[in-house]
Symmetry: C2
Subunit: 223 residues, 2 copies
């Protein structure tokens, strides 16, 4: 697997072809590691072993080492992985090292909760705009943002270089916002509603479904 020389890779070096696309499973697991690393860093830890990562992610520790060693020798035997170093490496592998700009739609309770939290900021996303249709909300301050009118969508997307739209609107408004986002050229939509969205094939929709996740978790608990 891979065409790299079979010896003497320095830590940080990559033994994969550039542009080789990760499999779905590897990309999903790398994202999970990133989450744990981010939290472990916040808690003041400096190194972490594959066994500790395994305890938090429920992913087999051999698989974790294998996933990582496909890209370089990131760890120290007998010690583990340096958290800050590994974080940077995984961000690079996932090509999400830079900051990505997000627009948030819906200034209701969910939208406010998102705007005021660090969940996106912690992973290199900047929420740079907040929109709502309710005229009474325009101009209101929510966390660090000011609520903008929906009609300013296209102009703001272009000016701010927004690549992701996050939908925290009522289900009934989701398709309409999605259509406008597509129109404005945004190609990644993160959908907090349960609405099934119709979008062109080049647009990626990711729907957050806590209840579905919970059903899944519950199955393994009940059986």
């Amino acid at each position: 697997m891979g065409t790299a020389p079979d010896t003497d890779l320095e830590p940080g070096e990559v033994d994969r072809e550039e542009g080789e696309r990760l499999s779905l499973g590897v990309a999903a697991r790398l994202s999970r590691y990133l989450q744990v690393l981010t939290q472990a860093h916040k808690m003041g830890k400096e190194t972490i072993s594959s066994q500790e990562l395994s305890a938090y992610t429920h992913i087999n520790s051999t698989q974790i080492r294998r996933d990582l060693s496909g890209f370089g020798k990131f760890g120290k035997r007998g010690v583990g992985y340096r958290i800050d170093f590994l974080t940077d490496e995984i961000r690079r592998i996932l090509r999400t090292a830079g900051n990505h700009r997000i627009a948030l739609f819906g200034a209701g309770k969910l939208g406010q909760a998102i705007a005021e939290s660090d969940i996106f900021a912690d992973h290199g996303f900047d929420v740079v705009a907040l929109f709502d249709v309710d005229p009474g909300r325009i101009g209101e301050q929510v966390g660090p943002l000011v609520v903008q009118d929906f009609s300013e969508l296209k102009e703001t997307v272009e000016r701010e270089g927004i690549v992701v739209g996050v939908l925290a609107v009522p289900s009934s408004a989701a398709q309409e916002v999605a259509d406008e986002l597509v129109e404005a050229g945004v190609t990644v939509i993160f959908n907090y509603t349960e609405q099934l969205l119709e979008v062109p094939p080049e647009v990626t929709v990711h729907t957050s479904s806590p209840a579905v996740d919970l059903l899944y978790a519950l199955y393994f608990y009940l059986s």
Copy 2:
């Protein structure tokens, strides 16, 4: 695979051993189908084909048919699957056909958004209690619930038969609530914070990480 007779299964009959545990992948995919079926039903659709399911889930249509045919002949050739029938069958396969009772922790913006939404109710979860530590919030009405004092946790869990605890509290309070939930005998925790929770092995923690999901989605978009 399986020990059932190889002919004449009626729709709804199951050709698997009871108690055979689903693989992680199958359980995850069945949960996804359920989400789409629930929404399609709301939209008034009566039948759905494996190709339509594929378009919404990005799961290969052959795999969908294969996943389903492992449990019975649920579809009609030339027609597709009846949505209400298939929904019931998948709920039965996942053994989540009954209603499960949930306690929600944190009556802040996120907690309120959850309490007032249908996201859990749509999938057979009843949010039956809402707790907060803030004395000023006790007794407050949030959606259909009244905010209870945290000290009533154990008694309420027992009285209401609560099996899942949902954490919508600040990260700094998450571990403390988790400890109390474990103490009260709750063994499934759904964690909306990014805090890494320390729990005994018999307790299942599912952490919701929209930003991590987004990183993952973005990888496939950027490459």
